[in-house]
């Protein structure tokens, strides 16, 4: 099989991994080496599905011994199989990097002979890149559940980011759809990685020469819509992962039915809007000071399709509004629908010079479409202070009747 054919198979099989981030770690190129990393990350292209490409995202092999219901590479599927050698991936990474096609490598794999044998081969790719090619670019390694702690440690020392996929939002679903993977074999390496990252940070405080362990942190991914969990269950899980496991990112991947299997739901198309809403809610957890329980409740366990989760929260909490933009603190501003991190910062910076008026808000670039129903400027509301919840819902939905209801947008993956 020639390289191009292999690349087609093994990148096609890797495309369902959502993460492509190359951010979170700034590093100069090694002496006589090639490549550095940028704290903010750099996108190098955008593929036909609109997602950014920053890493060479490929599988080492798609020759899997496991038979997970949702996965295109499961052993019972009659798909063409291929595997790279470590050297082939190293060369490809270097050639692409020298041409500025990529920020680095994202390497995952099907489980070949077993977790350890697969992980060992993946770690070897990263170690050759670092030690022989003196490669200083970004490396993201997927950790195969069930691989030995020693291999997980080597992965973290060679890579910028490591991730163990949690795959499904509950252990029952995992058991049903991925019977060969156990919850413990996923959570144990996660804990180990979290611990090593913490230790490395502490050691580096006393010595700059202490080794860095996954300096860009740990992430994970789960499939949305292949199993019956509610959005509340999913957000609670993410919240726990952020708080207790110190994860940098949780990725959500709308279930794309690639197999026929009676354990799987039949969907006309991937649940992209749900995925988008989950990312919005995830942002609220990480940057806006919300808790999962504020966003959803047992009575209302799923995210609203018509409203973004912050607007939905605001509609349930009329007592919180209106917010006075000239006095409210940063955290309160962040709770206003339509005001994001950038706008809130701009408001705080601009009002040090003069009181903000309606025009002033527009001038500094705050999008007023939703915010105008929830704020006052020096006591003056934008809209008549008529906050009949039902009517407000209607106006938000129709956008004042002046612009059509926006079609469900596919999410934009931030890096």
């Amino acid at each position: 099989m020639d390289m191009q054919e292999k690349l087609g198979i093994l990148s096609g099989a890797a495309r369902y991994d959502a993460s492509c981030a190359s951010s979170g770690c700034g590093r100069e190129a090694p002496l006589r080496g090639t490549g550095n990393t940028s704290q903010g990350g750099i996108c190098h292209s955008w593929s036909d599905d609109g997602r950014c490409i920053s890493l060479l995202k490929i599988l080492l092999s798609n020759d899997c011994r496991y038979d997970c219901a949702y996965c295109v590479n499961r052993s019972s599927n009659p798909v063409p199989r291929a595997s790279f050698t470590a050297r082939e991936i190293v060369d490809l990474t270097m050639e692409f990097y020298r041409r500025n096609y990529i920020e680095g490598l994202f390497l995952s794999s099907a489980v070949m002979k077993g977790p350890d044998q697969t992980m060992e081969e993946m770690v070897r790719v990263a170690e050759i890149l670092r030690n022989e090619e003196l490669f200083g670019g970004y490396i993201h390694l997927k950790v195969i559940p069930g691989s030995s702690p020693e291999l997980v440690r080597r992965a973290g020392l060679a890579a910028d980011r490591v991730s163990v996929n949690i795959e499904l939002p509950s252990s029952e679903s995992l058991h049903r759809l991925a019977p060969q993977k156990r919850k413990e074999s996923i959570l144990e390496p996660m804990k180990l990685i979290g611990g090593e990252i913490g230790t490395s940070l502490v050691e580096r405080r006393s010595s700059r020469k202490a080794p860095r362990f996954a300096p860009a942190g740990q992430s994970t991914q789960m499939i949305i819509g292949a199993s019956p969990e509610t959005d509340l269950q999913i957000l609670r899980l993410s919240q726990g992962l952020y708080k207790r496991m110190n994860l940098k990112r949780v990725y959500y991947s709308a279930f794309v039915p690639v197999n026929e299997d009676n354990r799987l739901p039949v969907l006309a198309s991937p649940p992209l809007l749900r995925e988008h809403r989950l990312y919005q809610a995830d942002w609220l957890l990480r940057f806006y000071g919300f808790t999962a329980e504020e966003i959803l409740s047992e009575q209302m366990p799923d995210l609203d399709e018509s409203f973004d989760p912050k607007t939905a929260w605001a509609l349930r909490h009329p007592e919180f509004f209106p917010v006075e933009v000239n006095r409210a603190d940063y955290g309160t501003l962040l709770r206003v629908p339509g005001i994001g991190v950038t706008s809130a910062k701009r408001i705080v910076a601009a009002r040090r010079f003069s009181l903000l008026t309606h025009e002033g808000m527009k001038k500094i670039g705050v999008v007023m479409k939703r915010a105008k129903y929830f704020i006052t400027c020096s006591g003056r509301p934008f809209e008549k202070p008529d906050r009949e919840p039902l009517q407000l819902r209607q106006r938000l939905l129709l956008g004042d009747g002046s612009d059509p209801v926006p079609a469900p947008r596919q999410l934009v993956l931030f890096s």
Partner: protein, 245 residues
């Protein structure tokens, strides 16, 4: 209104701003424009004065380092007609320090900050979208046609990243080039340019990248609008993965 003129160069612009501020004139009642070649143009002309420009820069660096950054990006934009705004922006920056960039309700500050922001955005974009091709002699060439004059900071970025290879970056629109010889950066302009022949290996790697680009997209999620809004078509001309589309 006091009317002031400068010679149209970036150095001249900074010199004139330094001169006006040293005069003690109120920038709010001053206009600064590029001198045209007419005989009887009204206004006081400031000639380029490197010493005055440098002293303004060092004052600004001390009082408002962020504003120096903004000024730097603003210059990359090569816009015309914003000189007066720049004059007022610099005066305000010296007065208020770094927080001036948050004073976006002021029309002049907003004009300068948004121009600078656009240039910064394109610089960041080009760090990702620039493509190097390997030539027959083993050196590397990247061509581009950015809206803003980003070649200096862009070349510095690649001098840290691809420091082991010898490369050229060529701005086709401005005919300017950057060269890294493995040790040092140099800049210049090229009167004539024709792309040298590519190495054999180049064509193979290029085909691999194109294959990767095709297969990495999820067919069920095809979204050309999102692709275009993230990666405007004006950049496709030199993108390896977009050749032949």
């Amino acid at each position: 209104m006091n009317r002031y003129l400068y010679d149209g160069t970036p150095e001249g612009l900074v010199s004139a701003i330094a001169g006006i501020l040293d005069n003690g004139t109120d920038p709010q009642v001053s206009l600064l424009v590029e001198r045209q070649d007419t005989l009887f143009e009204e206004g006081l002309f400031f000639r380029t004065d490197p010493v005055a420009a440098e002293s303004l820069f060092s004052r600004l660096r001390q009082k408002a380092p962020d504003a120096v950054h903004t000024l730097w990006y603003f210059m990359m934009a090569e816009t015309e007609g914003q000189e007066t705004s720049l004059l007022r922006y610099v005066a305000l920056a010296l007065q208020h320090g770094d927080r001036i960039n948050g004073h976006l309700t002021d029309a002049d500050v907003k004009a300068i900050v948004s121009t600078a922001r656009k240039a910064g955005r394109e610089l960041h974009r080009m760090k990702g979208l620039l493509r190097f091709e390997q030539l027959r002699d083993g050196t590397w060439l990247a061509r581009m046609e950015p809206d803003h004059n980003v070649i200096h900071p862009l070349a510095r970025h690649f001098s840290r990243r691809l420091k082991g290879q010898q490369w050229f970056i060529y701005d086709v629109r401005r005919r300017s080039a950057a060269h890294w010889d493995g040790q040092a950066l140099s800049f210049g302009t090229l009167e004539q340019f024709s792309r040298p022949e590519l190495s054999d290996e180049e064509l193979e790697v290029r085909a691999m990248w194109q294959a990767f680009f095709r297969t990495i997209a999820i067919p069920e999620r095809k979204n050309p609008r999102l692709q275009k809004s993230n990666m405007p078509a004006k950049y496709w001309k030199y993108l390896t993965e977009k050749q032949g589309e």
